[in-house]
């Protein structure tokens, strides 16, 4: 369908306005991270380009250390979630046992309990286990994921039962079927879930703040917060530089993931 020229212009103007609204804070952060302190304080337009803020962000704080911590934690959570969610989803779809559907709905019902409600008992648990200031304390509480199990179950359900039966006749057990057929067929969903899990844990704030007391295992979001309140006056240039560094992995992942996701989706559509 061809859109009339006039309407096209209006649509694009609206889109530009919306993009501007949404993107302005990010743009400001990026621009401010390259401005000198003087320019920021006076609120004038940038007069000089400087990388000073970035240098200072790395010098004053163990930013690189935070980033590495965040990577370790996010990747561990992502992998843990993928393994547990796919195994649980497999059981809910391909294994037949009494009360399976009831168990599944019970499982799903946990999605209605907000994270904040379980944060205190979780904290007690990891404290009693001695996992404070440990990677285990930062990651393991997030391995079991009702949403991921739900997503993968819906996806696995689309795999025809005949595939399982054909492999049963061929003499293939559950583990082999799960590894050789279910996981490759559900690749797209696994990637989606992986990206989602990674980003969610990368952006986590409250839990890492509670579960850590020192810089050794702290993640980057906590580090950012620390940049802010060290002294009376906030050094906005350094804070923005830190923020830009933090969003870079997210952006990279989104770009890479998007391409892969698109390919996966069209593959599925062609049947």
């Amino acid at each position: 369908m061809r859109i009339p020229f006039g309407r096209k212009i209006v649509t694009y103007l609206l889109l530009i306005a919306a993009a501007f609204l949404v993107f302005t804070p990010t743009m400001m952060a990026v621009v401010m991270s390259f401005m000198t302190n003087q320019d920021i304080m006076t609120g004038s337009l940038p007069s000089a380009f400087s990388l000073d803020n970035y240098r200072r962000a790395f010098e004053q704080f163990p930013l690189l250390h935070y980033v590495i911590n965040s990577f370790l934690v996010s990747i561990a959570i992502m992998i843990g979630q993928l393994i547990l969610a796919s195994l649980a989803a497999y059981a809910f779809v391909f294994l037949e046992f009494k009360g399976r559907d009831f168990l599944f709905y019970l499982f799903i019902a946990t999605m209605m309990v907000p994270f904040e409600a379980s944060i205190i008992p979780n904290f007690h648990t990891i404290r009693d286990l001695g996992w404070i200031d440990q990677y285990t304390g930062l990651t393991i509480p997030f391995f079991a994921m009702a949403f991921g199990t739900f997503l993968l179950r819906q996806n696995f359900k689309q795999i025809p039962k005949e595939l399982r039966e054909a492999s049963q006749i061929a003499g293939m057990g559950d583990v082999k079927f799960y590894l050789k057929v279910v996981l490759p067929v559900a690749k797209t969903s696994l990637i989606t879930l992986g990206v989602y899990g990674f980003l969610t844990s990368w952006n986590m704030y409250l839990w890492p703040l509670l579960a850590t007391t020192n810089d050794n295992v702290r993640t980057v979001q906590i580090g950012l917060r620390q940049l802010q309140s060290q002294e009376q006056m906030n050094d906005w240039g350094v804070i923005m530089a830190g923020a830009v560094i933090v969003i870079i992995p997210t952006l990279i992942l989104l770009f890479l993931g998007q391409k892969k996701l698109q390919r996966g989706l069209t593959e599925g559509a062609l049947k």
Binding site: E162, S167, I169, G171
Partner: protein, 371 residues
Amino acid sequence: MSYIELKDITKSYHAGNNILEQINLTIEKGEFFVLVGPSGSGKSTLLRMIAGLEDITDGVLKMNEKVVNHLQPKDRNLSMVFQNYALYPHLSVEQNILFGLKAKKVSKAEQQKRLKETAEMMGLSELLDRKPRQLSGGQRQRVALARSVVSEAPLCLMDEPLSNLDAKLRAQMRVEIRRLQKQLGLTLIYVTHDQVEAMTMGDRIMVLNDGEIQQVGKPITLYNEPANLFVASFIGSPKMNMGKTEIKDVSNFLVNKTLSFSADVRMQKAFQVHKNIIAGIRPEHIQPAIHQEATHSLEVIHVEQLGNETSLALDVGGELWTAKWPGQWDITAGNQLEVYISTEHLSFFDAQTEALIRPASFSGHGEVQAI
């Protein structure tokens, strides 16, 4: 020697509600055995029980004289072709064909040898690198067949394998499957709801309805001597014409209150035993009154010219009967038509028990012509 033996096989998902009721059956080695019935008759369930994919509620299933009720599907030494082909979408044709062999840990050299033979036999040699989604329906079907051929299992089960194909391709695949079965000497159990497939492919057919065996026999036997009303109306296309029969006087009876026939001695006896009788006649046995004198005159409702034959819808006491005449006939709908119907061609069924009383008899000339 019987190869597969079913003894009082019963299946129920809920107690007291049997999907299959006391199925007794033997299938010989090398036989092409067709299970046919309308949807919901339990034919697929029966096949899946033979495959070991469904539990057997009651009864004994024997293969090669051994009870296999609780044997795993993989230990039953069989292959299966599914309606939706069950090809692994992420694997190439070659990997799909070899999937089962890898699982059974057949040696690499043997795998390649069998793959080459099978691919050549099925005409898939050019397509081995493709993914299933890049194949047409017929090609996917062939891959599914190749997968079962390559396993070299002596028993092959097929669950409506042709129902996703268009009519032309279906006719072609019917021949291919039949040839393959003969060539490899397979014992094949084939489930279908299509009576044409059943008639054209099977050595023997079992008609199933509501979980009960209606009749087991050769295709021609089922056609000529259907055991009951269900088989009579299920086998044959267009289906057998049927009408209620009443006795007019000692030597005459009426079908559908319209068609009058004279009754012979045997018929008269039958009428004494059975209160309500239904008469049936195949469409090809309502014949043009050319060689014989017309026995009845019927109104033509509709004419279908098929080129090689002409299908007529006739009004018989308010019911539509079909007649099938070979060749091309210039007949106009709405006219009266002179036809010849012989009592010899009438089959009679008891209306209450639905069982056959007397099949159509063809005195003097058999329907099957031997060459």
